[in-house]
Each structure stands twice: as structure tokens, then as C-alpha cells.
């Protein structure tokens, strides 16, 4: 073969090059008319995520409660992998939802831009940042039908964007302060019946809106948990035709107002009670409420839980009837708890980072029964939900997702992300724990409290003065370490 190029070779190469360019251009032109070219497939598992707002861990039978009836949660727990020490990476409702939907920690609340139309502004309470992908978007891009049913009013305020990625969404109106019905017809006398004398005016106004919103109620199925789970059941009937699907059922109950039908309250309170009902707690210390009223409030909350459990049960039965249990991954968790006077606090004051507020419920039911009845003490959290689901569906997680993939625990293995400790934040307060200690302080490290959670799991005996070096170590290594630097103060 000669080193030079003959005229014939040159012409042949030129012709081939031209033909190649033409083929490339023609392919691009033809291809650009079509969007689908890869076959759809992969895991055909449906995913249902049930979120129960404000459900305390110690109020569920599966976690050891003996006086509140939660038969459906307990039965589900027996079929599930149960996390014994789950915590939300941040509190309250919206920061926790952001973590669930994005797989990104909302805490330490950097670059926080509160929505202008929202009066409640704890740190991190804001829409999902636009540069963060949400789970539903990722699943939708994979051809999975995505749906959400919720009565969580905070998710559908005008400035919020929690419907991102969902093919269909059912926003059930009227919970709490949802500006759903004009409040004018609600008299003070009616508000008196569902508040107590110590309730602050803001809570009375909350109830004025709530009473206006719920004036239509006639039967139990008009309450919010029944409406959410009924709607979710109806969704199942339809979306079973479009499997695999993703369904989020986000129930605001058992969040206050705690006003379940009387039959539920009477399970836990005096059936002859005729006084004013403490349906809403002040978010403060408990000095505003009498011991008798507090007892009644506990009964109301317990009744709200049992009602929610009963309607969750109907939804689970619907799943069973539609034979969806056998090909659906079911994740159930709560976002935080509620204080009922345990540390002389009520509601969700920022500083009250004790078990009644921080300890949540988290269980995952595998469609093939893996891990059923097993327990894990891994510090599972809200931001683990998205990466776990994506992993189980064989879908690559977006790089932003920093939560742990919990799915190895189904196989009896440990997640890749080791957690010897855990941290969470609520407004300008932080909480950290490891196997031995639990610590609470402000974002600057002030007001520190330390507890031996091994011997004092209820966190009652403050050891901070005795062990300042432990407080210092936990704040520096855990809080500042996990936050990647000093915490913001807005």
C-alpha cells in the first residue's frame, strides 16, 4: 500500500464522508420527530407513601403503647420493617415534607427564603427550592404514574409547589386555618366550646376558621382523615389501571384541632364530659392549661389517632381487595409529634425537642414480605424516603439526594451511610443524639440540655452542668459537623 492518497481513494473517502454526514443529518431529522425510543420497564412495583402528621411514636401500639387503639397501624407494623428510632431531620410540617420529597436535608436551613403569603415562619418553612428535583418528578420521568391526596393545607398555599411532578393531585380543603370558607358566621360561643379559657387569641382564630370550614359535617366520613383515605381509596381504583404508580397519601390528622367524633373520644375520656374542649394547644409552656383540661386534651388527641387509624385501615383493606399489597412498596411515617404537657410544654414550641416532639413513626412494607416483623434501630429519617424508593425501583437518585438508601436493611444488611449519631433542627434550636446522650440547644450552642438517653429515654434529668465537655463535643462534632459549619440565625 502506498503512503500517498490516490485520486480514487480521495473520492471514495469524500463520498463516504458525505454519505455519513447525510446519514447523521437524516437520522437527527427523523429522530427529532419521536420522543420514545427506549423501552419502558424495570421494577414494576407500585409505591405508596402514607404520611401522618403529628403522630407521636409513643402513641402507637406497635411502639409499645398499651392504652390507645391503633390496630391497623399495629397490623401493618407486623408486616413491615419497623424502625425503632426514626427521627425527622427537621421539624415541623413543611421542612419535613421538603426532606421527604427531595431526599435533601432541609436543616440547617441555609438560604431560607420564606414565602410572603405565609404567616408561620419557622426556619426552613418555604417551598421546595427550584433547583432541587422532587421524587415525583424523577418517577414521572421514568413513566410512573404519580398522584397525591392530601388535606395538608400548608402544601397547597399559593406560593407553594408541592404538586411538582404529580400527574394528579387531590387537595382536600378546609383543614385548620385553610381559608376555605368565610369565618363571619362563626360566633364566639361556638369557639368557646372548642377552646379553653387559656387559649391565646391566635388559637381562637384558628378555630374560627376551622369551624367555618367544617360546618358541613354530618357523619364521620365528613371528617378529614376519612375524606383523605376515602379519596386515596378511590384513586387506587383508577390508578391500578396505570401500574406502576406512585401515590402519596398525606393526612394532616392526627394534627390538631383534635375534634374526632365523640365515640373515639369516649374511648379515652369521661363519656359524661360536658365541659369546653381543649382541641387546640397553645405552642408554649403549659401554664395556660389546667391539669383537668390537659387530661381531656390527651383524650382528644388519642381519639384523633384512633379515628385516623380506623380510616387508614379501610384504605389498607382497599389495597388488599384490589390485590395491590403483593406488588406495592408501602412506606408509612410521621413528621413529628406533639407536646401534651410532658415537659411542661404544649403544641410544638421550638425549644421542646423532647421525645414527644422528635420521636416519629416509620415502617416499610416490602411487597414480597422481606423484613416483615423485623426491627431496625437505624436512625431512619425523612430525607431517606426518596433515595430508598428510587433504589428499590432501580432508578438512579439525583446527585442532590443525601439521604440513606434504607433498602439493604430488608436483606438484613446495613445501609451504606453509617449513622452513629443523628441531628435535627427546629427553627433556631438543634437536637443531637448518639447511643448514650441526647442534647438540645440553640443554634449558637446556648441553653444546652444534656440527657442520658440510655438510662433516661424520656429526657427528664438535665446533665449539662455536670458534663459540659460532652455538650461541647456533641455540639462541635455532631451539630456543626453535620451542618458543615456554623448555623444560620435569621
Amino acid at each position: 500500500m502506498s503512503d500517498g492518497v490516490t485520486r480514487r481513494q480521495f473520492l471514495k473517502a469524500a463520498a463516504a464522508g458525505t454519505a455519513g454526514v447525510v446519514a447523521l443529518g437524516a437520522s437527527a431529522a427523523v429522530g427529532s420527530r419521536y420522543e420514545e425510543y427506549l423501552p419502558k420497564g424495570g421494577s414494576k412495583v407500585n409505591v405508596i407513601v402514607v404520611i401522618l402528621d403529628s403522630l407521636r411514636r409513643d402513641h402507637v401500639g406497635a411502639y409499645g403503647n398499651t392504652w390507645i387503639k391503633t390496630p391497623n397501624l399495629d397490623a401493618l407494623a407486623r408486616q413491615s420493617l419497623l424502625f425503632t428510632r426514626p427521627y425527622p431531620e427537621s421539624i415541623p410540617t413543611i421542612p419535613a415534607r421538603r426532606a421527604i420529597h427531595t431526599g435533601v436535608r432541609t436543616w440547617p436551613f441555609r438560604d431560607w427564603h420564606p414565602a410572603p403569603d405565609d404567616g408561620f415562619k419557622p426556619y426552613g418553612w418555604a417551598p421546595v427550592p427550584e433547583d432541587q428535583a422532587v421524587l415525583a418528578e424523577v418517577l414521572s420521568a421514568e413513566g410512573i404514574n404519580t398522584n397525591i391526596v392530601t388535606d395538608n393545607l400548608h402544601m397547597y398555599r399559593a406560593s407553594y409547589d408541592f404538586q411538582r411532578g404529580f400527574d394528579t393531585f387531590d387537595y382536600i380543603r378546609g383543614q385548620e386555618r385553610d381559608q376555605y370558607r368565610p369565618m363571619m358566621p362563626v360566633s364566639d360561643a361556638r369557639i368557646d366550646k372548642v377552646t379553653v379559657s387559656g387559649n391565646v387569641p391566635d388559637m381562637r382564630e384558628k378555630m374560627r376558621q376551622y369551624l367555618a370550614n367544617t360546618a358541613y359535617r354530618k357523619a364521620e366520613d365528613d371528617w378529614f382523615a376519612p375524606r383523605v383515605f376515602t379519596s386515596a381509596g378511590e384513586y387506587l381504583e383508577q390508578i391500578k389501571e396505570a401500574q406502576p404508580f406512585f401515590l402519596v397519601v398525606d393526612s394532616f390528622d392526627p394534627h390538631e384541632p383534635w375534634d374526632p367524633p365523640r365515640k373515639y373520644v369516649d374511648l379515652y375520656g369521661d363519656p359524661d364530659y360536658a365541659g369546653r374542649e381543649p382541641t387546640v394547644p397553645n405552642y408554649s409552656d403549659a401554664s395556660w392549661i389546667t391539669e383537668g383540661e390537659l387530661e381531656r386534651m390527651r383524650a382528644l388527641y388519642a381519639g384523633e389517632i384512633t379515628m385516623t387509624d380506623a380510616w387508614l385501615g379501610r384504605f389498607l383493606n382497599r389495597m388488599e381487595d384490589l390485590r395491590l399489597m403483593e406488588n406495592t412498596l408501602l412506606v408509612l411515617l410521621s413528621d413529628h409529634g406533639a407536646c401534651l404537657g410532658e415537659h411542661d410544654d404544649t403544641g410544638k414550641p421550638y425549644w421542646a425537642l423532647y421525645p414527644e416532639l422528635t420521636d416519629t413513626v416509620f415502617m416499610m412494607r416490602h411487597p414480597e414480605g422481606k423484613g416483615a416483623g423485623n426491627k431496625s434501630d437505624y436512625y431512619a429519617s425523612t430525607h431517606d424516603v426518596a433515595p430508598t424508593i428510587l433504589s428499590m425501583l432501580g432508578i438512579e437518585s439525583p446527585q442532590q439526594m443525601e439521604g440513606a438508601d434504607l433498602s439493604p436493611i430488608f436483606e438484613g444488611k446495613e445501609p451504606d451511610q453509617r449513622r452513629e449519631h443523628f441531628t435535627l433542627g427546629y427553627n433556631n434550636y438543634v437536637w443531637a443524639r448518639d447511643e448514650k446522650y441526647g442534647m438540645v440547644c440553640t443554634n449558637t450552642g446556648a441553653e444546652a440540655k444534656l440527657f442520658d438517653v440510655d438510662e433516661d429515654p424520656g429526657m427528664h434529668k438535665n446533665l449539662a452542668a455536670e458534663r459540659p465537655e460532652t455538650v461541647k463535643r456533641m455540639f462541635a462534632d455532631y451539630v456543626i459537623g453535620d451542618a458543615g459549619g456554623p448555623l444560620p440565625n435569621y
Binding site: S27, A29, E36, G41, N327, G394
Partner: protein
Amino acid sequence: MLRRLTSWAGALACVAGGVLWALSPIGVHLSEIKFQTPNLFWKLFPSAPLLLLVGLVGLRLLVPSRSGVTQKIGFWAAFLGLILVVAGSVGLYWLGIDDTYIMSAPAYRAFRLGLLLAAAGSILLAVGAGQDRTLPPWGALPFAVGALAGLISFAVDLDNLGAALWILFGVGWAWLGLSLVAAAIASLGAKTDTNPGV
């Protein structure tokens, strides 16, 4: 004679398989319009990688002794990849394996892995064949470009761009087949020139 027959069969299989492959986005589209599902098309799809397999084997039989390490690795990767694509699509659309193993989805995973292997192997095969001069540069280069396009489109779903790159993968294989046909015709001509009396 057998070798010549093999090379011709291989070349024609490459052309046919490549063209069928290139037509698949259109096939998906038509299947969705006519039957409201792409699955009917995907049931027919295994014929394309099967033809490419025949073409690949033909190419291998044609130039067994002259191929270097790169070409050998490329051949076996592409071979395994195409086998996986065929097995995966048959398992997925004919046998319904993934309907049973809903979590692990073995057929779909085999299909997708096979695509990647087939594309990566094709690139190595093209580079190796170019180096070993078992294919003319004007045959190997477009084949390599098509394989690279395929690798990109198989790795990530790129919608319209991906469909264009998918088509280019098929065009690359068809081009390879045409270059083999051209080479076979040229060799016939050369033999006629040197043995005019035969």
C-alpha cells in the same frame, strides 16, 4: 465458497438488522398510534438484534486470523450485548418474566445492560477493525460514530436527541454491512481481473 457465503450473509444481515434498528422509533410511534401501546412493536424488535448477531458472526468468520486484541474484545462484548438484548426483550415481551419478578425486573435489566455492552463492544470492534485494516476506514469510522451515538442514547433517555442517536446506531451497523458488501464485490472484481480465464 462457504466463507464467501458467510461474508455475504453477514453483510446483508448487518444491513437488514441496522435498518430495522434504525426504524424502531418509528415502529414505537406507529405501535402507539395503532394499538395504544408500544409493546406490540417491542415484541417484534428482537429480529433486529438477531440479524445484527448474524452479521457480527459473519464478520468474525470473515476475518478470524487478522483480528487484534481490541477487535476480539469488541467482538465478544458486542456479541454478549446483543445476546442480552435479544434475551431481555424476549423475556420482557414474550415470556413476561418481569411480571413475576416485579422487584428485580431481570429481563429489563438484561435488555438495558445488553444495549450498553453492544454499543461499547461495537466501538471497540470498529476501532480494532480500523487498526487491523480488516475494515476500510470509510467503513469503520461511520460504524464507530454510530456506536458512540448508540452508547449515549442507551445510557440516558434523551427524548428526541436520543431517538436520533438510537437511529444512528442502526445506521452505523447498516453502513458496516454496506462496506462489507462493497468489499466483497471488490474482491470478486479483483479475482475476475487476476483470473480472466476462469
